[in-house]
Each structure stands twice: as C-alpha cells, then as structure tokens.
Symmetry: C2
Subunit: 295 residues, 2 copies
Amino acid sequence: MHVVDPAAIASKYLEASRSAVEELGASPMVAGFIATSDPPSIAYANATRQQFSNAGFGYDLRQVKRLELEDAILEANEDPTIHGIFIYFPVFSNQQDDYLRNLVDFKKDIEAGSLYWTRKLYANDRLAIKGDTTRKALLPCTPLAIVKILDEIDEYGSEARPLREKRVTIFNRSEVIGRPLAVMMSNDGATVYSFDEFGPLEFRHAEPFESEITREEALEKSDIIITGVPSEDFRKVNRNEISSDSVCVNFSSVKNFEDDIADYVKTFVPRVGPMTVAMCMRNTIRLFKNFHQES
Amino acid sequence: MHVVDPAAIASKYLEASRSAVEELGASPMVAGFIATSDPPSIAYANATRQQFSNAGFGYDLRQVKRLELEDAILEANEDPTIHGIFIYFPVFSNQQDDYLRNLVDFKKDIEAGSLYWTRKLYANDRLAIKGDTTRKALLPCTPLAIVKILDEIDEYGSEARPLREKRVTIFNRSEVIGRPLAVMMSNDGATVYSFDEFGPLEFRHAEPFESEITREEALEKSDIIITGVPSEDFRKVNRNEISSDSVCVNFSSVKNFEDDIADYVKTFVPRVGPMTVAMCMRNTIRLFKNFHQES
C-alpha cells in the first residue's frame, strides 16, 4: 500500500517551471478569475496565486461577480499585458460554465479546456497552429496531470506505447477531463473503459467503440481505476470490486473510493489538484513561447 | 382560449422560403445527420427532409453511427457541395452533444447553435463577419421560432421595443435555447425571469441580473410563460399559478403544463417544432447568401 501525495510530485514540476521562467527572461502574467466569496474557495485561489508567484509568474487574482465574468474574460483576452487566463470553476454550475470556458482566447487558455485545444487532441493534431511545426499544441491540464502522476509512480512504461496491455477504467467522460483522458491513455496503448451516467464506451488507439461492459467487469479487469464523479450518489468503489494490485486515482472533489481502499490497493492517489496547477504553469510557459514572446 | 398550431404559422414561412430559394436561382444543399435507428426519430427526420425538399432545398438525410458522427461533420464541413448542416439531437445526451454542435462550421450552422453565433447574440453584434455590413448574423433557430410565433399571435407590439412592459417567465436557461431567448426578449423590452435548476436570473435590456424571485411570484406576474424542461420531474405549471390572461408556450418534448391549461389561458402554444424547422430554412438561405453564393 502506498498513498501518493500529488503535492510532492508537483514540487518537481514547479521547480522546472521556475527554471523555465528564469530562462525566458520575462515573467508571464496570469489573470485568475474567481466569482465566489466562499472562504475556502478564496483560500484555494490565494494558494494557487502563491504557487504561481513562487515560480516567478505574475498572477493577478481578480474577484468578480459571476454576471461580470463574461465581460472580464473578454477584456483579459484583449489585454496585451495578460498572457494567461485561469478561471476558478464552478461559476454557474451549468452549461454557462462551458460557454465561459470557451470564451477564453486559446492563446491564453492555460487550462487548455476550450474546444480549440480539445479538438486538436481528438484529431491527434500536435501543432498549435496548422502548418507551423515550431509551435506545439497544449494538452488539457487535469488529464495531463493524471498521466504525469502515473508516469512518476512508474505506471507508465518507457516504450513507444507505454500503457500497452494495461486496462483502465475511468468514471467521468466530461469534455474537459474524462474524454480527453480516455483518448490520451488509449493513445498510449491502454484499453480504456469509460463510464458516465449514460453507460460505457471503450477506447483503443484513441478511438471510441460501443461497449456492453458492466462496471463490475471493467473494475475486475482494470490495472488502473480513475474516478471523477462529483456526486455523493455515486456508488463508491470498494475493495471487493477491484484487484489489490491496482492503482486508484480520484480527481473528484467528492470521495469516489471507500475509505479503506488505501490499505488494500497497490497505490492510491486521493487527489490530483496540485499537479493540475503545475500543468497549468507548464501550459502558461508554452503559450508564452508560442504567442506572447518578443522574438 | 386559443390553442395555436405552430404548423399553420410555419406554412407562411415555408412559403416565404420557397420563394426565396426560387429567387436564389440555386438550390442550397443541407446534410441532415441522424445517429439513431429509433423509428419515431427516423420518421421525424424524414418529415423534415420532405419539408426542406418541398421548399426547394436539397436535403441529404444521412444515418450514421453516433461514434462516426464527429468525422461525418468534419467531412461535411469540408465538402463544398454542402451548404448547411443539421444534426438531430440528442446524440449522446451529454456534454459531447455540445462538442458536436460546436464542431459544425459556423458558415454551415443552420441551427445557429454553435458558440460563434450565440456569442454574437450576447455581444449584440448583428454582423456575420466583423466589419462587413453586407452580411447579417444568424439567430439560434428555436429562440427565433418562439419570438416569431409570439409575433404572429400579436403578442409582439409594433414599436421599437415591442415587448415593453411585458413580463416573461422562461423555465430553461440552456446555452442553445433558454439564455439566447431571455436575451432576445429582454432586448425587445421585456423583463424576463429565467429559471433553471440552480435558480433564477432576471434579464432586462439584454443584461442578466441576480434575482431572488420565486417561481410563484414570477408566474403570477408574467404575461408570457415559456417552458422547456425535458424532465417528468418538473412540477407542471398549473392554472392556479398563472393569470387566465397569459400566453403559455411549451417547447419541451415533455408536457410542462397541466393538461387543462389550454382551457384556461388566453393562448396556449403546445409545441414550436414546425417553426424551428422553418427558421432553419431561413438561416440556410442567409448562410447561402452570406458564404456560398457565387457572386
């Protein structure tokens, strides 16, 4: 049994970002928008600001009313002194959050959650701008964070298709996390069973296939189990359903595994948040080099 | 009491489209994608194909597997012989449907449901292309259908702000129907109480404001009540909650009013579907003139 602290893994990436910012000879400026006055959310926002600052970025945390966020994003899109935009979701908790996410100029979308970047991933297009081989595309920050964590705990092999022969179950098929993650991991060789409340799909070689697999079958077969269901109604994954040799990762704000899972499985990653922030920094640097650096 | 048949209203618009196609001297070609083999859905798709054909459009109804729809859309985007794309939703019934909707090239998006067009509406930008005053923007087809129905039944005045002093309640704040509709009607002068499962907003002059209004207060005050909640769990609007002088419109596939509402209110519009199709034709013609016509 091994419980992974994502903050410990993140520290290496934060250090790498600090060095990369130093090398840039400039300090990329991020505007972070928070549209709540909920104290824990504000505390979290201040903590991320501190992390960006520690790594040498500028970080302007802006508290706005939710109905003013749309205009605030459009303004930051136009502001040449802002190089990256981060939004603390949820804001409206409905479809309007997707609208806001897609309002961010792709050149400043450090979370890489907008359609511009997810489309590139689904199309296996590795270039930020069509035909320009000097600028690399971004990957969405949370899926990237999960892949990097698995890599750090040696669940990724070193060959060309490092997840070859691995089976993965993912509970979440959102456009921002679950689907991109299924595409990325299946592209790396895994067979991915992807569940949402409407049923399963199976991903192989970055392609989806219809599937009749049940939760029970998928969990029994899987080497890696990843959960991201922000609901107390989700039936928590328990030790009777999975192998003690499995690696379990929860990225939901809600516990999706039973509490005693950590004592049972090979490796348990209870959260990924700190690595998500680290991947946003990495994306910020890539966007800065791609689009904002004086050449 | 007056029950409105949207098909009867639509026939006038279908006739106008037929004339407009004749005047074009060309037959705009629409690809309609259906990703189900459910017989009623297929029957509905065939009926819309027939309507487009009757009005002089080409209409190629294509049955595809849901997992092939993404590629099929991308192909139609690139196909110069296709001028408009129509998708029969729901496909996945989740966030992926929004992804698909936004995959349609805006120049072929006859439903005008993609972010390109809703953003223009929210920004009150009336031009299809920035700076080009010869090409007008599109409006999303279902909100437009509802506004046109209200206009036809004389609920729209003829002055500059035709809904001045009207109060409207809308149950639905989706990005494709409820929010654009609230913006459009408030832009026409109405005070709009917009509800979704997360609570109300009030729209005035095309701007949203936070609101504490309850369902009961909103319904009691409203001249026009519009429902679009595709769930049997929604508490149906009943005659005790509303004025007998009100106009009620349901655009949900599920009945959102109690059955006896039609005998009680001034006007009841039980569905808007036929007008939505008519508005798609109108949009097809506008897109053809804007982007596909040989000049």
